[in-house]
Symmetry: C2
Subunit: 323 residues, 2 copies
Amino acid sequence: MEAAVGNVIERGDKVLSVVSGLFGRRFAEIARRRGAEVHEMKFPLGSSADPSKIKEELESGEYKALTVVHCETSTGALNPIEEIAKACRDEGVISIVDGITSVGGIDVRTEEWGIDLLVVGSQKCLAAPPGLAMLSVSERAWECIENRKEELPDYYLDLLRNKGYMVDRLSPRRTPFTPGVPALLGLYEALKLIEEEGLENRFERHRIIGEGMRESIKAIGLELFPEEGAYSNTLTSFKVPEGIEDKELRGRMKEKYGVIVAGGLEELTGKIVRIGHMGISAVPQNVFATVSALECALHEMGFKLELGSGMSALEDVFLRNNL
Amino acid sequence: MEAAVGNVIERGDKVLSVVSGLFGRRFAEIARRRGAEVHEMKFPLGSSADPSKIKEELESGEYKALTVVHCETSTGALNPIEEIAKACRDEGVISIVDGITSVGGIDVRTEEWGIDLLVVGSQKCLAAPPGLAMLSVSERAWECIENRKEELPDYYLDLLRNKGYMVDRLSPRRTPFTPGVPALLGLYEALKLIEEEGLENRFERHRIIGEGMRESIKAIGLELFPEEGAYSNTLTSFKVPEGIEDKELRGRMKEKYGVIVAGGLEELTGKIVRIGHMGISAVPQNVFATVSALECALHEMGFKLELGSGMSALEDVFLRNNL
């Protein structure tokens, strides 16, 4: 994120940051620290950003770049990247997209959609060990970086140096500095597994797992946090029901049933529970265990539910979709 | 290096950079990119920086910080960090030291010598996998960082955020962001091995290996590159003798004998050969193989030497020192 923003932005540049949660706000903060004049365009937590409003704002012609998170992991909502990237193209604005919890689990068409800078992490839907970030850079973005007036304050994040080694010399196995070799080898293996599975199959697996999680949450009698239609297939969040203490719920799930789920962040602390299902965690056996643990823990805490209701909804989705 | 310099330096600050090779120059470049007014104090390649000259320069009172490399890996020469750090203390200047190829192989007394920021890499003398950098920060340096006027342009390299997680809360197993977990586990194992060996034993091992390498180089009839007395025990460099082509020499050592040694960098390209002996590579079996391969390759290329002369000098050092 820092390399993407830092290489494009110079002090005083105007940046539009789409903010509908913690990670969108982090992007804005990174741009602000780089000296950009950042306008945060806020959308409600759990909603999908409205691309027509974004386009309207970009039409002012003032912006050099836009930052947006694809899957806002703090809420479980997805932003419409295709439309947002198109609006950026139309208005000559560089689009900087955080695809950390989407790429590898949800279809992201970097070139077709015209995303200028796409940020990916190794440890989410790509299912490699943590420790690496990846970045794709469009021709348009390279041009922008090559033409910057202000020298980059960074040394190691200087993308042009990396371009010299990894793009221009067509030598993808060379890096300008000692890389985290074990992490690279781990990523290489993870990418081979993705190739074996096939991207379409992988997206379909995440889609079915996502639908299964949502249907079981609803069947248990809980309320999904994101707005209808804004759901990401890589993460499901639900509202902590009245009378239930979030920390105790997650504590029971972890200590008694061995299932770790996340709580809300910042203003959503104690208000939502977030269940990640990305890469290797987006498999039936994990989701079975998660829904069962959730049912048991809720039951223990006095929440009224029909035991097995979530499981039955889950199984129904899996069987109907021929998972 | 970037985190150390970046957190301390603000635009317009004066920095004295001790430069006696590529890595000293890189430090200067990092400071310059951060907007510092950098004065490069140059010492000849292969020499040890003269601390009295440095002290004299610092006495001007103009400098906020000094950057210096302990082991200048591009030449194999060591800088006198104890004296330089003392001069910095005396003059109220923040010392930023690159200990990447010394810490773990050569005694570095961070607190006793009063080093303010010490940079270490995982993959050199600590003998852990690559992918991690470590930084120690003195109280004085924290104060300087806490009192900076200009906001840091960095987000992830913001040391104060790390301090909040890793120092103030006394929670060394917490990090503000997802770390490279496998790399951390690798480092943990490597540190346990260091503890088992004992630091004194480890320094002594590097000392004997270093002396052995130097004696064998001389016995073969080659000339060491660093000035007498400037030698690092973690890396030995020698001048490529007349009539010998550096690339061919290293190519033969690698292809025929399975031993990889490094060439010179930048202005020393083709002029010196560098042999690293750090951590797991600083063991007799590796050094035996290296000296033998060097003797054979030189002999094949028509260099006049008595076969076994280097080996005999090496063995003599090992036996005399009771390795």
